[in-house]
């Protein structure tokens, strides 16, 4: 059963500087197939920057990122191809406003994966049904609530059949009553062994769904462990004071 799991993403001394500000100061992290990694930490600690470096929405200024063993920070690597395999979900959903929901979902599969429109639509419809929005394909994003938009955004990423899903505070922009429906979808993914990296302030989710919790502060990983280790037995002072504030 516990055969050695395949490494999906590995970062080595990952650094990112915005002019003078060092947002990442050497981050080493390994994410294996089926892992659910939750990243917590105070605002400004570099969580988003780290996530966005993984698919190079931000260009790292130092260190390396290996995706399926290939160094995707090297010059020759085709980042667009790798991004097809890394789904990303944003805080503000970022659905394509000029398209219907269905067109949002099939754009990538038809333009990039070579699926026919019918194939892509079928795939999208299955996933829409799975998140309970099967009847929304013809709507425009502006016609949906925040929680619905975020579920669609998750489906849009899933339609590419990615090997890893990156979530950057997917519930932070939502009204409280809509947080649950999005977390449900994410929980469902986690149970189906989707490899996920989740930046979140939802400590309940981190504890319940996370297999590994990473505490980041000041551009570094300060502590790492199981939810029990992190929440019930924190070691470093900064984690203790962070937890005291958020719990």
């Amino acid at each position: 059963m516990s055969a050695e799991k395949r490494v999906v993403i590995r970062t080595e001394g990952l650094e990112k500087a915005f002019r003078r500000i060092k947002a990442l100061k050497g981050v080493d992290l390994t994410i294996k197939d089926g892992d659910v990694v939750v990243i917590i930490g105070p605002s400004g600690s570099g969580k988003s920057t780290f996530l966005r470096c993984l698919n190079r929405l931000e260009e790292p200024t130092g260190g390396k990122i290996f995706f399926n063993g290939e160094d995707i920070t090297s010059r020759g690597s085709d980042i667009n191809r790798h991004r097809q395999k890394m789904g990303m979900v944003f805080q503000h959903f970022n659905l394509f406003n000029n398209m219907t929901i269905m067109d949002n979902l099939i754009l990538g599969p038809t333009k990039l994966l070579g699926l026919s429109k019918a194939e892509a639509t079928e795939r999208a419809q299955k996933l829409l049904d799975r998140v309970g929005l099967g009847d929304r394909g013809a709507n425009y994003p502006s016609q949906l609530s925040g929680g619905q938009k975020q579920r669609i955004a998750i489906v849009r990423a899933l339609c590419m059949e990615p090997e890893v899903m990156l979530f950057d505070e997917p519930t932070s922009a939502l009204d409280p009553e809509m947080v649950g429906e999005v977390l449900e979808v994410m929980k469902d993914l986690a149970m189906n062994k989707t490899t996920m990296v989740v930046v979140t302030h939802e400590m309940g989710f981190a504890r319940e769904v996370g297999e590994r919790v990473i505490f980041m502060d000041d551009g570094q990983i300060m502590e790492e462990g199981t939810p029990q280790e992190i929440f019930d037995n924190p070691q470093c002072e900064r984690l203790k004071s962070f937890l005291a504030k958020v719990l």
């Binding site: 929405l57 667009n80 890394m86 789904g87 406003n97 000029n98 990039l112 502006s142 016609q143 590419m160």
Partner: protein
């Protein structure tokens, strides 16, 4: 009073009816509209191209290292500066008497001159539209693996064009009115029609007030159409 009406109807007949002169105005309207619409199409193509080149250059640090893009961007910069810094009339004269000195195809020259001129303005309009699209749209497009140009084409430009549609409408109207200077290269547009008729009848009032009204009607008509299109697009997404 009676004399006034008699005079009026005589002038009117002379300027519009006699010798089928109304046909001249109609032909003139045709030429004016033809130049306007074709120039706008050329302007749109040029404007889109330039705005994408300039955004590609300004937004992508890695693409900026590409020498071809830098040359292209520099060229676009010079183009917009020169076009916006010189009078339309002069551009038209240069186009007709210098660049196409051997061609007597006045329509082609006028369409090119106005299209090239309009392209410079449209590029600025479209660039503003592209900048106004939320940054998250580009990031979302890139995150599923679309490259920069694909994201522009499928996601950014449609939204940008929609948001600048009113400005493009204004550009169309400006263009329509500005085409009246094609008379300097002898093209028989609506304005030229009035001038020709005035030369024959020695009546200035009727032909010039007449074409002023015609221009006004054309502008109102175009505004109406633009409004309809805008409203249609807005309803689409509600």
């Amino acid at each position: 009073m009676k004399e006034f009406f008699a005079e009026f109807s005589k002038d009117f007949t002379q300027s519009f009816i006699e010798a089928d002169r109304w046909k001249l105005y109609l032909k003139g309207i045709g030429v004016t509209l033809e130049v306007t619409v074709l120039a706008l199409l050329i302007g749109l193509v040029i404007g889109l191209f330039i705005s994408v080149v300039r955004c590609l250059h300004d937004q992508n640090p890695s693409a900026r290292r590409n020498p071809l893009l830098r040359i292209l961007n520099g060229f676009c910069h010079i183009y917009t500066t020169v076009i916006r810094g010189t009078p339309m009339m002069v551009q038209l004269l240069i186009m007709y008497f210098v660049i196409f000195a051997s061609s007597r195809n006045q329509i082609m020259v006028a369409v090119l001159a106005f299209g090239i001129n309009s392209g410079a303005y449209i590029s600025e309009i479209v660039r503003g539209g592209i900048m106004s699209v939320d940054r998250g749209q580009m990031e979302a497009g890139r995150s599923i693996g679309l490259n920069y140009l694909q994201t522009m084409r499928y996601i950014i430009i449609p939204q940008a064009l929609k948001s600048v549609l009113p400005s493009l409408g204004n550009e169309l109207i400006t263009l329509l009115k500005e085409t009246s200077i094609v008379t300097v290269i002898g093209l028989r547009d609506l304005t030229k029609a009035a001038m020709l008729i005035q030369g024959k009848t020695y009546q200035a009032f009727m032909p010039f007030i007449g074409i002023a009204l015609i221009y006004l009607l054309l502008v109102l008509g175009l505004s109406f159409i633009m409004n309809r299109i805008e409203r249609r697009l807005r309803v689409d997404e509600r």
